[in-house]
Symmetry: C2
Subunit: 88 residues, 2 copies
Amino acid sequence: MSADFYGFVAAFLTTIAFLPQVLRTYRTRSASDVSILMLLLFITGLFFWVVYGLQAHSLPVLIANLITLILNLSILAMKFIYSEKRNL
Amino acid sequence: MSADFYGFVAAFLTTIAFLPQVLRTYRTRSASDVSILMLLLFITGLFFWVVYGLQAHSLPVLIANLITLILNLSILAMKFIYSEKRNL
């Protein structure tokens, strides 16, 4: 197998991995066990990956990280919305 | 700024992001809001990134993903241990 094959499988898996987390958080209306600092660091890092993808003209890096960024922003948004509702 | 600069910042942030999650899970003894399917897909993806790093002789990819892999394996292990303890 070529290195690129492993790279594509890796990028696919680490991108779609966050979809079950989005669905779980939506279903359970809870993300209190998810570290807010993790989300903020990870989202900032993904933003830099997107910038890197643009600057290095790497479409796979750009697309994979853009999707991961959107999924993690959804988790962050739900964490805020659901924790606020519990405090009402 | 060069593309590489953004790449290094990105790799650093998306690697250390999981440290607060490890610490939170250890402190709260709970990871029930963390999707098991997310962890399994992400860990499998990280394993492929490590293989890609080895095959493509990319030390930054190898090191960053090896650290992220170890951190996520710790979260997975704690998820199992703490959920089992609650069921006793």
